[in-house]
């Protein structure tokens, strides 16, 4: 779509200013849960989709749109979020109201144990059909979509010299130069690991281990490693790389020939939530135009078809994408974490 920068910013402004008049435009459903949510006053959001800055921005924007309802943002990697949630469950303490992970296996496991609430936000109808209704019972919904691809430090590696394929990341010239996350922490890295194993078998990681990559915990850390010049190529999140590049940092994105790995991440409402209305309202918000505007502003890929990403940011349907199936993820991530620990020693 031909949207120049000025119109784009104007659209963004319109979206952020919208809350002022929002009360008038609220649907009856929205109004009634907002009234009830105000009495609950707050909600706690375990969030692994975004960086802590972006997650806090979601929280602030939500409170601006719905004054009187505060969001406690708990941003960690997916596996740490799930560890904390499991501790909550084991101690029978309903700390978490809305759980947003990047490892869909978490939601499947929680659903099997009957710990999730069935709720279909109205906004689900607004998102692109490929992301709609991942769970037939409406216990989790896709709230974020981005991709993991090859990233490089543009000062130290020209785009033409950077690896073009996932296999190319194993070229000996990248010994001591690769940055990756850890599947025992990051859900994105978990899914990426499952996908690489599916493509090339576990020997992919045995070779990678010999090349001594820098192993962070979150996949976000790979971008920091590139911008600081600590490492020069990485398997990292595309959206964040675009954002950092826009701030003048030397990061470039390369879509590998095999395809970038699609990360569609789910959100659930916990069944034992103490603030069901605030949680529902927040679930509605995650599919709203305001939430989409934040995603776009941070160089992410919006889920809604009626919101365009920033110029230069690829829409997820504009690139070659690969993704393991839900079953492969559910079964694959725990296996891969164990194998990873054996192979990398950590």
């Amino acid at each position: 779509m031909g949207m120049d920068r000025r119109t784009f910013i104007a659209a963004g402004l319109a979206a952020t200013l919208a809350p002022r008049g929002a009360a008038a435009q609220m649907s009856d459903h929205e109004k009634s849960i907002y009234e009830a949510a105000k009495k609950e006053g707050e909600l706690t959001w375990y969030i692994a989709h975004y960086t802590s800055e972006t997650a806090e921005r979601f929280g602030r924007t939500f409170t601006e749109k719905y004054p009187g309802v505060k969001v406690n943002v708990v941003r960690t990697t997916a596996q740490v979020a799930f560890q904390r949630l499991s501790q909550d469950i084991q101690s029978n303490v309903p700390n978490c109201d809305v759980f947003a992970t990047t490892d869909i296996g978490h939601c499947v496991s929680l659903k099997q144990r009957g710990l999730l609430m069935s709720y279909r936000p109205q906004g689900v109808d607004q998102i692109s059909p490929i992301f709609r209704d991942v769970d037939k019972d409406g216990q989790f919904h896709t709230t974020s979509a981005t991709f993991v691809s090859i990233l490089h430090n543009t000062n130290k590696v020209k785009a033409e010299d950077a690896p073009k394929t996932w296999k190319g990341l194993l070229d000996p010239k990248w010994i001591n130069q690769v940055s990756v996350g850890h599947p025992g922490f990051s859900g994105f890295v978990g899914i990426w690991t499952v996908q690489m194993k599916k493509l090339y078998g576990w020997s992919y990681f045995e070779t990678l281990a010999k090349h001594k990559p820098q192993i962070g915990r979150s996949i976000i850390d790979t971008v920091t490693m590139l911008t600081s010049g600590e490492r020069i190529v990485a398997a990292g999140p595309g959206g964040l790389a675009y954002l950092q590049a826009s701030r003048g940092n030397p990061v470039g994105v390369i879509i590998p020939e095999e395809g970038a790995v699609l990360m569609s991440s789910p959100t659930s409402i916990m069944k034992n939530t103490r603030r069901p209305n605030a949680a529902k309202l927040f679930a509605e918000f995650l599919h709203s135009r305001e939430a989409g505007a934040i995603v776009v502003d941070e160089y992410g890929s919006p889920l809604r078809d009626d919101i365009e990403p920033r110029p230069g940011v690829l829409k997820v349907n504009q690139m070659k994408l690969i993704q393991p199936s839900v079953d492969e993820i559910v079964k694959g991530i725990p296996e891969c974490i164990e194998q990873w620990r054996d192979t990398f020693g950590i």
């Binding site: 802590s52 943002v73 799930f82 101690s91 029978n92 490693m225 020693g345």
Partner: protein, 583 residues
């Protein structure tokens, strides 16, 4: 300082002078018995129950009730898990050696020689003690990252090599960072031992023709050796139980240690029982080493360590003093100055990788943590309020127990004393598992509350408060109190009018010490904090996953600002040495 373990050896067997017995109440029922029961129950709640739960859980089926050895099998049947324990022992050994190689010469130089800048060297040890280990680790990640680290960049700039020589993300990098933030403990012990050794023997050696170096090696060091070894053991135990630095450095270094391994047992499905089984060797090593340490320190048959000091002659080093001063400067550079400079730069930088320039300067990071990221503000408030409550309670409780023990007011006081000191056998991260097992779920349901973190902190730091206050009480002559009693005053009046005022400074010192330690505690908090009860250390660990060091550095600067202010205020009231004093 964290010197309780050494003093515990002295504190337990110390039988008070016989005249104290006169103070013992002669009535058949003393209302003090109620206080005893309350204290004993509290100790039961804080120490005995969690520890028992840990031991019982280690034999309990995962999420079941049957007794089993399966947890030990799951904990130790993987080569990787055993390797983690071995790695920990290596890391702790080398880190302690690094700490000792810094602390011993420095302590000797400050205590005995005419090295210039002794006061500054001492002040820099205090500063190193205030810096939380995880913050120092972040500073060093920015300094010695293999490619982007400042030191490596400077090296490459000067020598034109392709890469710099330093790689923090390695076994040696890990040992180095752990060691340089553990050295103040050895320094304190060594220095106080050296302060107590009379120089007469050194002079005798000198008269018989030994040079300075020979005297030091043959006379001074052997005399101080038990204290040094004792401190070495304490540092070994402290470093063995660290979680933050390994999480930051050992993961990228691909080096698994026991604490990072323990953390993996908390992944879904949570296996606290296996974690409990895995903790046992850590507790075993701790008990064994504390026993060795006690043997070392109680066998002080050296008459020369008289405690009286005698005449102290300053050793004139001649030109060597400059070399020693250089070493002291090096120590203060690596422990305090370099990490602090790089953290300050980072806290005020847009992107730390861009280096120091005006265009890279910003206040946004501080704006962000104070006004945008609500969780940071809350965690700062949590950190300081939990630390204050912990310190207050530890001091009150430590005072109560220490007074009763010292004055033998109640029967079985030695049991009370033993209990109050017993948390030292539990490494911080294991203590968290104890508390998680005992109080997170039914019937207490304390998980996610501030209470569980505060009581864990209290348990962890009570021995320090107990020993510090106990030492203060020992120095008060009971005659003063007897006088009040003879003149008809009751025990309460004794406490209010005599003991309280005399102990004011001791209590304040203990309060500040516990406060500072609690603000930097990570291992104990990491499995106990819920979404609204995170402290700065836990939040730092969470945020460090993403590598946004600018925000972390800004948080660290605020934390250091507050603790430094508290310590400086303490120094004004209590004198320069209150933080780093052994007795």
């Amino acid at each position: 300082m964290v010197d309780i373990r050494a003093d515990s050896a002295a504190a337990i067997p110390s039988s008070p002078p016989a005249r104290n017995r006169d103070l013992r109440p002669k009535r058949t029922f003393d209302p003090m018995i109620i206080l005893w029961i309350v204290l004993a129950l509290l100790l039961l709640f804080l120490i005995v129950n969690p520890l028992l739960r840990l031991i019982v859980d280690s034999f309990r089926q995962v999420n079941g009730s049957e007794l089993t050895f399966a947890n030990y099998i799951s904990a130790f049947s993987r080569a990787r898990h055993i390797q983690a324990v071995i790695n920990t022992l290596w890391m702790a050994s080398f880190a302690s050696l690094i700490a000792a190689s810094m602390a011993v010469p420095l302590a000797w130089a400050v205590s005995r020689t005419d090295m210039p800048g002794r006061d500054l060297a001492h002040a820099s040890v205090i500063a190193a003690f205030i810096i939380p280990t995880f913050l120092g680790a972040i500073g060093w990640m920015l300094l010695a990252g293999p490619n982007a680290g400042w030191l490596n960049k400077i090296w490459v700039g000067i020598f034109g090599t392709a890469t710099g020589p330093f790689n923090l993300f390695s076994f040696w990098g890990l040992c180095f960072v752990v060691g340089i933030y553990a050295f103040p403990l050895i320094y304190v012990f060594t220095r106080s031992a050296l302060d107590l050794i009379s120089t007469e023997m050194e002079e005798a050696a000198a008269v018989h023709g030994a040079g300075t170096l020979r005297t030091m090696m043959k006379v001074t060091l052997p005399l101080a050796l038990p204290a040094i070894l004792g401190a070495f053991i304490l540092v070994f135990l402290e470093t063995m139980a660290l979680y933050g630095t390994p999480a930051l450095i050992a993961i990228p270094a691909r080096y698994n240690v026991a604490t990072t391994q323990l953390a993996t047992f908390f992944e879904h499905p949570i296996r606290v029982e296996v974690a409990a089984a895995f903790s046992m060797p850590l507790i075993g090593v701790t008990i064994l080493l504390l026993w060795v340490q006690r043997l070392l320190l109680s066998n002080r048959s050296y008459v020369s360590v008289s405690g009286k000091g005698g005449d102290r002659r300053i050793i004139r080093l001649g030109p060597w003093k400059w070399m020693l001063a250089g070493y002291a400067l090096f120590i203060s550079l690596v422990t305090v100055l370099l990490p602090l400079i790089v953290l300050l730069h980072c806290a005020f930088a847009k992107a730390w990788g861009r280096g120091a320039s005006l265009s890279n300067f910003t206040l946004d990071n501080f704006y962000h943590i104070f006004f945008e990221q609500m969780t940071v503000r809350q965690s700062m408030w949590n950190t300081f309020s939990y630390a204050a409550v912990t310190a207050t309670f530890c001091c009150a409780f430590g005072f109560g127990v220490a007074y009763i023990v010292q004055r033998r007011l109640l029967p079985f006081t030695s049991v009370l004393a033993f209990l109050a000191l017993s948390p030292v056998i539990i490494p911080g991260i294991v203590l968290a598992i104890c508390f998680y097992a005992a109080y997170a779920g039914a019937p207490f349901y304390l998980y996610g509350t501030s209470a569980i973190i505060i009581i864990a902190f209290i348990t962890r730091f009570m021995p320090i408060a107990f020993v510090t206050v106990g030492t203060g009480i020992r120095s008060i002559n009971p005659e003063l109190e007897e006088a009040v009693r003879i003149l008809g005053g009751n025990r309460l009046m004794v406490l209010r009018r005599v003991v309280g005022p005399l102990l004011k400074k001791t209590l304040l010192g203990a309060w500040i010490l516990t406060f500072v330690l609690a603000t930097r505690e990570l291992s104990t908090a990491v499995f106990l904090s819920g979404p609204e009860t995170r402290v700065i250390s836990v939040l730092t660990l969470d945020l460090s996953e993403q590598g946004r060091y600018e925000i972390l550095a800004a948080m660290g600067v605020v934390l250091l600002f507050v603790t430094t202010a508290v310590v400086l205020a303490g120094m004004r009231v209590l004198g320069r040495d209150f933080m780093l004093r052994r007795t």
